[in-house]
C-alpha cells in the first residue's frame, strides 16, 4: 500500500517532489522524532522546532533533582545537519550555565555530540535521537566529566566545595522566561 502511491506519484510529479526532497529524509526523520516527543514526552525535557525550518529546534532541560541545578530551567538550541542522522546535531546552551563541560558560549563537550569514525573518539550514532541527546545532557548536569573540562574552575570546584559550586551555578543562571517571549 505504501510503496505504490509513492512510485506513481514520483513519476508524475517528479519536479515538485524533487524540490521538496531537499533533505527529504532528514525532514521525515525529524517529523517522526517530533511526533514521538509530543506523544510520549519525557519529564523535564521538551523540544520543538523554533520556526518554519524544521532543522532548527529550541529545547528546554530542567535541572535534575539532587544536583546543584535542581529547579533551574535551561534553554538550548539544536540544529540538525543535512546528513542527519548520520552526523550529530549541533546542541548549544542558550541559558548561561556554570558547568565543567560547557564553555562560556554554551558549547557542550559530550562524546555523543561528536561524530565517530576512524581515529576519533566521538560516540554519535544514527540510532540516537533528539530525546536521547537531551537526556544525556540532562544527566551530564548531575555527573560532569571532570576529566576533560571546558571550564576548569568549575571542575575543580565541583570536587572541592559543592556549596560554593551551587552558589556559582545560581549566580550564572538566568531564568529563560524572556526567551519564551522571544520564541512566541
Amino acid at each position: 500500500m505504501s510503496s505504490t502511491p509513492s512510485t506513481t506519484q514520483g513519476t508524475k510529479s517528479a519536479g515538485s517532489s524533487a524540490r521538496s526532497a531537499a533533505n527529504g529524509n532528514v525532514i521525515k526523520r525529524l517529523q517522526s522524532e517530533l511526533m514521538a516527543m509530543m506523544t510520549s514526552p519525557t519529564p523535564g525535557l521538551s523540544a520543538f522546532p523554533s520556526g518554519s525550518d524544521i532543522t532548527k529546534w529550541n529545547a528546554t532541560i530542567t535541572g535534575p533533582t539532587d544536583t546543584p541545578y535542581a529547579g533551574l530551567t535551561f534553554k538550548l538550541t539544536v540544529s540538525f545537519p543535512s546528513n542527519y542522522p548520520y552526523a550529530p546535531p549541533d546542541v548549544m546552551f542558550k541559558t548561561p550555565i556554570y558547568h565543567p563541560n560547557v564553555d562560556m558560549a554554551g558549547r557542550i563537550c559530550l562524546d555523543i555530540l561528536k561524530k565517530g569514525g576512524d581515529g576519533s573518539e566521538g560516540a554519535w550514532s544514527a540510532v540516537l535521537n533528539t530525546g536521547s541527546v537531551l537526556l544525556s545532557i540532562q544527566s551530564l548536569l548531575g555527573e560532569p566529566n571532570n576529566a576533560s573540562p571546558l571550564n576548569g574552575e568549575a571542575a575543580l570546584l565541583w570536587d572541592r566545595d559543592q556549596a560554593e559550586y551551587k552558589k556559582k551555578v545560581v549566580a550564572r543562571h538566568q531564568e529563560p522566561a524572556e526567551m519564551d517571549v522571544d520564541a512566541a
Partner: protein, 539 residues
C-alpha cells in the same frame, strides 16, 4: 479509511482500543530512519536496519549504530523474515486501523455493555484478515522454497503497480563466493564461479562488472541486466586514485565526474550505497531512478547543496575540514584582510580613520590624544590613564570610528573637556538643551543617568535579557548623590558622552554599561556580582 491512508504513524493506534499496536508498529521501524524497514539487513552483531540506512551509516563511521561494534557493509545479510513481517503488517494495517477506529467511535458514541464482546469480535476479524494475508504469503513462500527459484516471496502489495517487475529474484537461498569476492550464487554455481573468480582476481578485477553473478546472468537478456542491477559494487581505494583516474571511474559507471576529489569520493560512496541497497532489495529500481536519487543527494548534501549548513557552522569545526580548499577558495578575501591589517599596523591612527586630519586640522596638534581616540576600537590606549577594563564592547564605539563627523565632534568635546572648557553639544532639532557642567569628571555620571532615566533607545532596551530596572539603581543613586539633574540629554550629546565615558569611566560603570547593552550576546550579559569568577574565584 481516511487519514490512515495518508500518513501512517504509530500514534494512530494510541486512542483506539488497540493502543498496544503502537508499540508493535514502532518495533517494525528502522531505528535510523524511523520508518518501516525497507529491505532490512542484519549486521554481524545481529542488529537490523534498512539496507540504505545501515550502508550509509557504515560508510560514515564503520560501526553498528546500535552497539558500536565495527562492521562492514559486505557482511550484511538480508533479514527476510523481518521483511515479510513488515510487508504483512503494512498490508493488514489499513483494515486493522479502520476496525480499531470504528470500535473507538462506537465506544465513544454509546457506552454500552456490549463493548467488550464487540472488541473481541473485531479483533478476531482483524486477526482473520491478517491470517488470510499470512496464508497467501506462506503459500508463496513455500513455493519459493520448494523451487529454490526466483519467485518473489513478497508480492502482495504492488504486483500490479510495477509493470516491469520480473519475478526472478536471485537472492533466496544463495551462498557467497568462497573467495570472498562478495558475490552470491546458487550452490550449483559455486564451482564454475570459483574458477572465474580466481581468473578475475588475476585480471585485477577488470571484468567484474560484466561477470554474471549467478546462474541467472547467463539466462537473462542483456537488456534485463541493464534495467535490473545485479552486481554489488565496492568502494574504491580512494587514496590510491588520483583526481583524473577518479573522474574516469565515476564516468565509467555513469555518474557525474565533476567537482573536487573529496566531492567525487563522497558521491561515489553515496552511489555505492544506493546501488548496493538496490541490489539487496526485492523490488529493485532502475538505474535511472537511482540516478535521480543521487541527484537529490547532490542537491541536499553534495556539490550543489546550499552552503549554509555545512559551510561555516560545521565545516570549519570539523576535523576533516578541507583547509587547503577553503584557503584557495577564499584567497582573495584573505589577502585583502591581510593587507588591511598590515596597513593598520604600520599606521594605526590614519588607517582606522583616514579622513580625520583633513576634516580637523586642529587635531593634528594633539597627536597623542587623536591617536588614542582614533584607534580605540582596535587597540588599547598606549598609556591607559584609567584602571584596566578588559574588553569594552567595541560595537559601541565602532559606528563613530567609521563616521568622520562624529569622530571629529567627539574629539572636539574631549579636547574641550580636558581643557576644562564649557562645550555646547551639537543638537538635533526638537531636543532640549542639556544642562552642562564645567567639570569633565561629571560626564560619565550624567551619561549613566541618561542611560537609566531617559526614554531609552529601542535598540538598547528591547532586548530580552535586559536586567531588571533595579540593577541600574546604583548608577541613579550615584547620580543624585552628586547632585546632577537627571535631565534627559539630547540623543546626540548623550551618545557623545557615552563615547567619552569609555575614557573616564570606572570599572563599576563599565559593568553597569555592559549589563545594559546586551546587543550581540543576549543571554550572556556578564552578571554583575560574579564578574570575578575566573580571577579570584579559586580561593
Amino acid at each position: 479509511m481516511d487519514s490512515a491512508q495518508d500518513i501512517a504513524d504509530s500514534t494512530d493506534w494510541l486512542n483506539t482500543p488497540l493502543k498496544d499496536f503502537a508499540q508493535l508498529e514502532n518495533a517494525l521501524h528502522c531505528q535510523i530512519c524511523k520508518e518501516f524497514y525497507d529491505t532490512p539487513m542484519i549486521t554481524s552483531c545481529a542488529h537490523t536496519f534498512c539496507s540504505k540506512c545501515i550502508r550509509t551509516s557504515l560508510s560514515a563511521d564503520g560501526k553498528c549504530p546500535a552497539c558500536r561494534t565495527a562492521d562492514q557493509a559486505s557482511k550484511l545479510r538480508n533479514n527476510w523474515a523481518l521483511q515479510e513481517v513488515v510487508a504483512t503488517f503494512q498490508a493488514a494495517r489499513p483494515e486493522a486501523i479502520s476496525v480499531a477506529r470504528r470500535e473507538q467511535a462506537e465506544a465513544a458514541q454509546a457506552k454500552r455493555p456490549g463493548k467488550r464482546k464487540r472488541a473481541v469480535l473485531d479483533s478476531d476479524d482483524m486477526e482473520e484478515a491478517a491470517h488470510e494475508g499470512r496464508t497467501t504469503r506462506s503459500k508463496s513462500r513455500r513455493v519459493a522454497a520448494s523451487q529454490t527459484s526466483q519467485t518473489d516471496p513478497v508480492e502482495i502489495d504492488d504486483t500490479d503497480a510495477e509493470d516491469e517487475f520480473e519475478p526472478e529474484q536471485p537472492d533466496d537461498g544463495l551462498v557467497e563466493c568462497l573467495l570472498g569476492c562478495g558475490k552470491r550464487m546458487m550452490i550449483e554455481q559455486v564451482e564454475p564461479h570459483l574458477d572465474r573468480c580466481e581468473d578475475e582476481k588475476k585480471q585485477e578485477r577488470r571484468a567484474r562488472t560484466r561477470t554474471p553473478v549467478s546462474g541467472l546472468g547467463s539466462s537473462r537478456s542483456a537488456s534485463a541486466q541493464s534495467t535490473r542491477p545485479q552486481d554489488r559494487i565496492s568502494e574504491l581505494n580512494y587514496s590510491l586514485l588520483r583526481d583524473n583516474a577518479m573522474r574516469k571511474k565515476l564516468e565509467e559507471i555513469g555518474i557525474p565526474g565533476w567537482g573536487s576529489k573529496q566531492l567525487m569520493v563522497k558521491r561515489h560512496t553515496e552511489w555505492v550505497n544506493l546501488w548496493n541497497a538496490n541490489c539487496d532489495s526485492n523490488h529493485p529500481r532502475t538505474k535511472r531512478e537511482l540516478l535521480h536519487d543521487l541527484d537529490s543527494w547532490e542537491r541536499t548534501q553534495g556539490g550543489r547543496a546550499p552552503n549554509t549548513q555545512t559551510g561555516l557552522a560545521n565545516g570549519v569545526m570539523r576535523k576533516d575540514f578541507d583547509g587547503n580548499g577553503w584557503a584557495s577558495k577564499n584567497k582573495d578575501e584573505f589577502s585583502r584582510l591581510i593587507a588591511d591589517a598590515r596597513r593598520k599596523k604600520s599606521n594605526p591612527a590614519t588607517a582606522s580613520s583616514p579622513p580625520k586630519e583633513a576634516d580637523l586640522p586642529e587635531d593634528a596638534s594633539k597627536p597623542a590624544l587623536t591617536g588614542d581616540e582614533g584607534s580605540s576600537s582596535h587597540f588599547p590606549p598606549p598609556s591607559p590613564p584609567q584602571p584596566v577594563y578588559p574588553q569594552l564592547p567595541t560595537e559601541d564605539s565602532q559606528p563613530y570610528a567609521d563616521n568622520p563627523e562624529a569622530m571629529a565632534s567627539i574629539r572636539e568635546k574631549v579636547e574641550a573637556a580636558n581643557a576644562g572648557r564649557h562645550i555646547e553639544p551639537v543638537m538635533n532639532a526638537g531636543f532640549r538643551s542639556p544642562d552642562s557642567h564645567p567639570h569633565p569628571e561629571h560626564v560619565p555620571f550624567r551619561a549613566a543617568a541618561v542611560d537609566a532615566m531617559a526614554p531609552p533607545p529601542a535598540s538598547l532596551t528591547r532586548k530580552p535579557s535586559d536586567p531588571p530596572p533595579g540593577s541600574q539603581n546604583p548608577a541613579l543613586l550615584e547620580q543624585s548623590h552628586f547632585g546632577h539633574d537627571a535631565e534627559p540629554a539630547s540623543r546626540k550629546s548623550s551618545t557623545d558622552e557615552l563615547a567619552a565615558q569609555h575614557r573616564t569611566s570606572s570599572p563599576r560603570d563599565v559593568s553597569a554599561r555592559l549589563s545594559s547593552t546586551p546587543k550581540k550576546v543576549p543571554m550572556f550579559a556578564v552578571p554583575q556580582s560574579p564578574v570575578t569568577d575566573f580571577d579570584n574565584g579559586v580561593h
